[in-house]
Symmetry: C2
Subunit: 347 residues, 2 copies
Amino acid sequence: MTSHAYYNHENHGPYELIHIGELPLISGETLHHCQLAVATFGQLSAARDNAILIPTWYSGTSKIIQDVFIGAGRAIDPDKYFIIVVNQIGNGLSSSPHNTVGAQARAHFPKIAIADDVSAQHRLVTEHFGLSQLALVMGGSMGAQQAYEWAVRYPTMVQRLAAIAGTARTSAVNQVISDAIVHGLRADPQFGAGDYVDCAAVSAGLQQHARLMTLHGLSPEFFEDQHYESLGFDSVAAFVDSFMTPYFAVMDPNALIIMLQKWRGADVSHVSGGDLKAALGKITARTVVLPITQDLYFPPSVCKAEAQLIAHARYKSIDSPFGHLGLFGADANWVRQVDVELGDLLR
Amino acid sequence: MTSHAYYNHENHGPYELIHIGELPLISGETLHHCQLAVATFGQLSAARDNAILIPTWYSGTSKIIQDVFIGAGRAIDPDKYFIIVVNQIGNGLSSSPHNTVGAQARAHFPKIAIADDVSAQHRLVTEHFGLSQLALVMGGSMGAQQAYEWAVRYPTMVQRLAAIAGTARTSAVNQVISDAIVHGLRADPQFGAGDYVDCAAVSAGLQQHARLMTLHGLSPEFFEDQHYESLGFDSVAAFVDSFMTPYFAVMDPNALIIMLQKWRGADVSHVSGGDLKAALGKITARTVVLPITQDLYFPPSVCKAEAQLIAHARYKSIDSPFGHLGLFGADANWVRQVDVELGDLLR
């Protein structure tokens, strides 16, 4: 794999690249030489019954998952559990447009579905780690989408499920948001159908991406009550220009588009001909559904409707003025409440 | 003025083009040969005391203002009032990029401020119509921005003020929304810095414009409770593709950008060195501030904070699942409640 100024160990901490091999995709294509970047924490028990799987969310990596959720004395405790954080395909660390060579490089990287990530992860978990059960599969946002897919496809393996700020099926409005963000990247003349020479050249597209992530990623309350001040910014403009814009400016537009299209198409009911009730009815895991009350991408109403289709689901909407980006962990109150819920689920 | 497939009498009903002349702009530039497209309803009383002025909102014209607010037996009753509906500069009917010839044509049309519209309208009202008072200045969205500017700048003329779904100063978040929409138009390679030959060539930019107007113009409730079905659409995608997209696809991107920048910069406190309290303190009109509860552009909280700075303001947030586009008048319940408020104000 080639080096990259952002997608590397310096920025994202220790992870191991694990070869998954030829990955048949639900599109009918095959992802060649699939590799997953995996960070693990803690030790597998002798009974092999203490594994927790956490797939990553949009644009994030194993690093932020570690920072937000994992810690001694916390619910996701490496002293008790063997925690596998797997970077989703296309996130820049696992197989992604920029680190693929040959026919599938860059603009030619195949379209990936949440289902494909879970197929790759299933191979990782069963063949690489030799596990036949997972004490918990959890994730936020696109991580929740992957966790739902796990619980639907492999119910006998998934003992517990925690879906945080995400849905099993992407809503129609969320699809319009995704379309708008993808368009914002592709419309940059420097994008050149994905064959740009340098990500930095697509800065106008990435700046628009940051604007749109700002408008839906946070919440009206975040701006009205000036919560950006708690992050050290004295105005909305400063927050956009000095936090959101640089945060995304270093990322690869092709990678972001691969993830956005995956997000847009997420739907566990692919297993049941579009019948969401039938798909969610397959879940046997003890489940907690934890939307963020102010989330504009995955609003509580949609999460609640899904929770009602799951046999053993606890539903709790947790307040955060940060909206969807409560996931970033800056709202200690939200982090604490999620920890309590995860602790209860694991007991 | 040149002909246009959309901006004409066939689509927008009767209006008169009134020559305002050279218009000094607050930017320091001058808009040459300014013309305002004006539709009037009813008769001016002998005492010249029954005039109502209604400036238009973003992308709308006098036609939709007539359809939504004006009618015999309604609050804005042409049997009682002389109603002047004035199209804002840059809306396609009044002086606009596409209908201007010479050095200010198309991409070279000067940047306009809300304050400039009100200066032109003041000339219209005083010099053309010979009026020294207005029984009511009212408007929705950018129309409210103009109405506020009127009441601050000409308090002795404006007896009543009705600000519907709009603010006196555009919030910082609303500015980010405006930036994103402008970027969506300009990023289209066919936009060509505004020197495109045919609006239709900028269809990708206009489609993105429609997506972004969808995401903020309506409300989460509109989509979750499927209110688009009441408009005859069976899905969010159908609503976007068959209503929002064609609605805006016929408009001129240069015109939309002129209006968006005007929207972004709206701020009555230009009269008081940025002191909003001082500016709104100049208002002597009997005022009603009527946000739409679900409005994502001009949320009630911002409207309420402004209303509290006005001496004689009644504040009432009116519910509509249509959000900001409640202004389109499809929600009969919202229209009825606004009528009641306007009727009370005029009594």
